[in-house]
Amino acid sequence: MSAPDSASDGASSLVTFLQHQSRQRAAAVALRHKKRGIWQEKRWRQVWTETRRLATVLTQAGFSQGDSLLLLSHPRPEALLLSLAAQYLGGVALVLDPDSDRAELAGLLPQLGARHVFAESQTQVDQVLAAHSGGALILYADARGLADYAQAQLCDYGHALAAVGEIECEPQAAPAEAFVFYRLEADGQLARQVLSHEALLSAGQRVVAAERLSAHEQALAARAFAAGAQIRYLLAPWLIAGFCLNFPENIHTRDNDRRELGPTLVAGTRATYGRLAALVEQHLPPPGSALRGLIDAALRPEASWWLRALSYYPLRRPLCDVLGLNRARAPLLIGAPLDEKDQRFFAALGVRVRPWPDSNTWQRQPAHPAHAAAGSALWTAADTQHLDHAR
């Protein structure tokens, strides 16, 4: 499909791609979120307008070019759209892993001193408040338990969105970096990983090209935002190829949700795939049973061609179906390779896991967004090399 031509020209940012898609396929489904038992859909047009309204919300809270919005949330559309809104205004999205331990967050938050924050739910809101950050605005998605919080800057995502109209101004010229990840090193020093628009888009385009991703993909974003790689391999391609990004209901229902959805594009780490393999392991019929014997025989990589053929319909295909992987055209493996066992398991299933590099170049340095450019440049260089290796 024709995207605004390659990321080489500095002007193009994630937002420009979003704008492009919202024109290209306004009525196509851009986002799905399994919420309250059903997959709630957003079309590209809606995504675009919602982003522009969020931009209004942020501006009203004094967010302006070069500012940064802090995201402390599990993967959910709100977080995604907010980061896009921030970039729309020429800002940066700072991302923290909500599952990193309280102490680390407590150490991180004050240092970042972000004035605009998206905190998923009460837990995160408390952490943010405790760190006296989010002075200007704290948006939250899950209002549960926040009813009698007095703080003026607290604001419900839904309400905020409903209250405002779309922003007038066009997308602002974006600074080099789109996302910055922060974590504390063991010695308590701050480390950051920068994803620049340019790097993201070029990486994204590589993925799209290499995996032949089309607008018809169904991508499952189980852990997007937890890692930079996820953004690189899901978010960027999503905007470039214009397919549909799906968010599971929550961490406990993800396996069920994946099965319902049957994604064609998944991006996981060694751990993700390992977990699946283990899950299958423990749900297989007990060792020694006839069926188990059959399955093991069929899944052995050195199984004869006729056994594979015979076992395809009764065993391997249904197993893939249960895992929700039978449509997975592009199961991406990011970073470290799978260990032997899992490798063989997925190979036998016919799920051809595609390795992609995760160049998490964390640099230890004080948190001054000003210094980001250097970081991102450095990172890009590193990454392109990795990618070249990969090809």
């Binding site: 799905r32 069920n256 319902e260 049957g262 009764p314 249904p318 039978n326």
Partner: protein, 357 residues
């Protein structure tokens, strides 16, 4: 197992509330219906129609009727046959005494006139529970049977209260042939079953189950116990009434009040025990079972045992077999064949993994 489920998800509650969520299931249903309306009537023999399919369909409907009352609302009843009788005799009289009344309206009126009877004998259920309720339903059973034998008017003064089927004519089409009655029965039973299904998956159905599982809690939630129970009796006897009319006119042709005796009531109870309480599908499975078992039995005996055992003994054998089956089902599979079917589906859903949510 052989069908893929992934990729089939609902994006709205409407979608999520469909009876058949998988397209494979919907396809199967369509094929089944198509077969029932084309291939079967085309190839089927009169024996198939009048000895197997028609009783199967009618008993399934009766089973649904009783299941709403006993399986869903938890009100044990041994009076099913009585309500069927009311339906049959009412239909007969409506068609007899209102010349020109369309056949289907006759069936409908028959079902409707079973409703008040059901309500009357359901009233005690508001004060009494469990076994005590048996008395009420048995009272219905005996009283109705007596009434129709005793008052010749109901049978148009025919000898010993025998009534025979009116001409089964709808818009000039005759359905008196076995094939015709089969099609007629099918077309009456299916929509009614659909209605029943809609009820049990709606609020009323949930209220019924709530009353069944724990009526104090149900009352505390605000479920109107009285109304809920009586509705169960009313709707149940409506379906039973129509089933009775079909039993009399599309299956038997001629019937006397004693055709609706306690044994028929028991038979229908067995259908829901074997098929599965609290399940719509179960009634079909149970009915098929009840209809086919005797036939198989007689075939087997005539094939292998020859004339070694005579008819009487065969009947006894049948009785013993049925009794044993009931006991075995209650012990091994209290939720009946429907449960087996569901476990099968669950297994297929997670195949080849075991217990996958």
């Amino acid at each position: 197992m052989f069908y893929l489920e992934s990729g089939q998800f609902s994006t709205s509650y409407r979608q999520d509330q469909r009876i058949f969520r998988l397209w494979q299931a919907r396809l199967a249903l369509v094929l089944l219906l198509a077969a029932a309306y084309t291939v079967v009537p085309w190839l089927g023999s009169d024996y198939l129609f009048s000895a197997i399919l028609i009783p199967f369909l009618v008993l399934s409907l009766a089973g649904v009727g009783l299941n709403l009352l006993t399986g869903y609302a938890g009100q044990l009843s041994l009076g099913s046959a009585a309500f069927m009788a009311v339906g049959a005799f009412a239909t007969y009289n409506f068609l007899l005494r209102l010349p020109g009344l369309p056949l289907l309206d006759g069936f409908l009126l028959g079902g409707l006139s079973a409703v008040p009877v059901g309500l009357v004998f359901g009233l005690p259920s508001l004060r009494i529970k469990g076994f005590y309720l048996l008395v009420s339903t048995l009272a219905a059973q005996f009283f109705i049977e007596w009434l129709f034998t005793q008052v010749p008017w109901f049978a148009n003064n025919s000898s010993s209260g025998v009534i025979s089927a009116p001409a089964l004519v709808i818009l000039g089409h005759h359905f008196n042939t076995p094939r015709g009655s089969y099609l007629l029965t099918l077309s009456i039973v299916l929509p009614l079953v659909l209605l029943a299904k809609n009820l049990v998956r709606g609020q009323l159905g949930r209220n019924w189950m709530a009353v069944r599982d724990m009526d104090t809690a149900a009352a505390v939630i605000g479920i109107p116990i009285t109304r809920t129970k009586l509705l169960a009796f009313a709707i149940s006897s409506f379906l039973l009434g129509i089933a009775g009319a079909l039993w009399a006119f599309t299956y038997l042709g001629t019937v006397e009040p004693h055709g609706f005796d306690l044994n028929l009531s028991f038979q229908i109870l067995f259908i829901i025990i074997i098929g599965g309480m609290g399940s719509i599908l179960g009634n079909f499975l149970g009915a098929a079972f009840i209809v086919l078992l005797p036939i198989l039995l007689s075939i087997i005996s005539s094939a292998w045992l020859g004339d070694w055992i005579q008819a009487g003994q065969l009947e006894n054998l049948q009785k013993i077999l049925f009794g044993c089956l009931i006991i075995v089902f209650l012990i091994k599979e209290p939720e009946g064949l429907a449960k087996l079917w569901n476990t099968l589906r669950a297994r297929a859903h997670g195949w080849p993994l075991s217990y996958w949510n």
